[in-house]
Amino acid sequence: MSDVGLYGSMYGQLRNYADRIDRLIVELKNPDAGVAAAAGKNLAAVLRDILDVNTLNPKALLVQKVLERELSEFNGVRSVEAIASALEQSQVGEYEMAAIEKMAMILDEECADTLARMRGRA
């Protein structure tokens, strides 16, 4: 009935993806090519999970909607598909990296906003 329960639940879902993506970015930037390639494949799997238009998983759907709304400069979620492919083929250029960073920032900001609403700060 209160905001805390619902926002707390949403926060947990967003936070899970935000932490996973940031951890994988750290590995993606690892100088060891093997570590980076493995991280790329894992990150691609996370992105494909989010992208699945037929998903009924509320956690993935929530993140999908957030990215859809905020990723306009990168052509919305359609660009995420291309990024996932680039990650799978270990062909991550500047554009892909910028988009991945942008996604991580969006999720981080959404986490902060959700927490602020949960605490009645927004």
Binding site: L6, S9, K29, D108, C111
Partner: protein, 382 residues
């Protein structure tokens, strides 16, 4: 350099976590809060370990990863702030009212066969009932333990726990919600197709439908928590919803596309549909009568946007799916009479409507009797 600032601040946060750990009272004076004590200690250990990673790990300390390091740090700091303001505060001000409600929640947990660990309760909420799933802590307003009419909301808060964990014991409930989301998306796809075929400008309508596609994700959780409460406590929950709406909400048909809560009218509709599933038609009629009266008096009626956002057919489907989910996870469905706490909360509402002017006296005496029966005689509790 800003890196020096972050290095120093991360170290300071680590020290704060250690200080907070020392502030967790030991031994805890009420056994009901031992679980919370354990969770707080373990969460603080996780926080300290995460801060150590940010301080010591050579990879995360590379200059090109400063952004990631800052993002991690801010989120860890929020965790620390949350645990300080809720769990550790609760442990530091244990009051007899907390213990009383802890016992009530434990009893509810037993009666409805709740499949997860019962949360601890603290009376420090500044804004109605709430639950912090990561700490297993329910927060209620300071005076709530002296009143009965809002207590059915405890069952709703328990519902949020069912969505905050990956646990095979509750997967069936989560699956039913996912099925319901499927029904919502199907409905919205049809609405989009209809809108695209219609004449005249469609851009605004399509924008609304896109907003609804997003809003229904949190709305579905809220409605499922409402229905979980209804199915486990009975009509008292629908009365409590009427009670809250009558005293706090200004616009029950308001569709807030960026808001996470569904319109109050939609919540009442699912509850009435749920009562019908429980074969409590007389209760449903009595509640619907009062609800309609409330809407009439306050001058509210359904708007076209409300009708499009929350069609009755969809709300009825939510009631069916949530009922299945509640049964599938093994929770006991509310029945007339029987269980102690749900019986008490339903009796409270019956007593209220039977004789509203003398209800306060009845409630006071009833609570005094229950307290006498279950209140522990623990030393050092105010």
């Amino acid at each position: 350099m800003i890196t020096d600032y972050f290095n120093a601040t991360i170290n300071q946060a680590r020290e704060r976590a250690r200080v907070l750990k020392a502030k967790i009272p030991n031994p805890v004076i009420a056994p009901e809060l031992v679980g919370l004590q354990g969770i707080c200690e373990s969460r603080l250990d996780d926080i300290i370990a995460s801060l150590d990673y940010l301080i010591n790990d050579p990879q995360i300390n590379r200059p090109e990863l400063l952004r990631e390091r800052i993002r991690f740090f801010r989120r860890i700091l929020e965790d620390l702030s949350m645990i300080e303001g809720t769990g550790i505060t609760a442990l530091n001000r244990i009051h007899a009212d907390d213990v009383f409600l802890d016992k009530i929640v434990f009893q509810i947990h037993q009666e409805i066969r709740f499949p997860l660990r019962p949360p601890a309760v603290t009376c420090i909420s500044q804004s109605y009932f709430g639950i912090w799933p990561s700490l297993g802590l329910m927060s209620v307003p300071l005076a709530e333990s002296d009143f009965l009419l809002h207590l059915p909301d405890i069952y709703h808060e328990l519902g949020h726990l069912l969505f905050s964990t990956e646990n095979p014991k509750v997967e069936a409930f989560q699956r039913q919600r996912a099925k319901f989301i499927g029904a919502v998306r199907e409905y919205l796809r049809e609405e989009v197709a209809l809108t695209k075929r219609s004449t005249g400008p469609t851009e605004y309508q399509l924008l609304i439908l896109k907003g609804l596609d997003r809003s229904w994700i949190p709305w579905s959780e809220e409605l499922f928590c409402d229905l979980f409460a209804l199915y486990t406590v009975g009509p008292a929950y629908a009365w409590a919803h009427l009670h809250l709406t009558a005293s706090h909400t200004s616009a029950p048909f308001n569709v807030r596309l960026e808001g996470e809560h569904p319109p109050d009218e939609a919540r009442m509709r699912v509850l009435l549909a749920g009562l019908s599933i429980l074969n409590r038609d007389a209760d449903a009629q009595a509640i619907a009568r009062r609800w309609d009266e409330l809407l009439r008096i306050t001058g509210h009626s359904a708007t076209p946007l409300y009708r499009r956002s929350c069609p009755d057919a969809l709300l009825e489907q939510a009631a069916v799916y949530a009922h299945e989910g509640t049964k599938q996870i093994g929770c006991a469905i509310a029945s007339k009479g029987g269980r102690t706490i749900s019986g008490l909360l339903n009796n409270a509402w019956e007593s209220f409507w039977k004789d509203p002017s003398n209800y306060a006296e009845w409630e006071k005496n009833t609570i005094a009797t229950i307290r006498q029966a279950i209140q522990p005689k623990l030393p050092n509790i105010p």
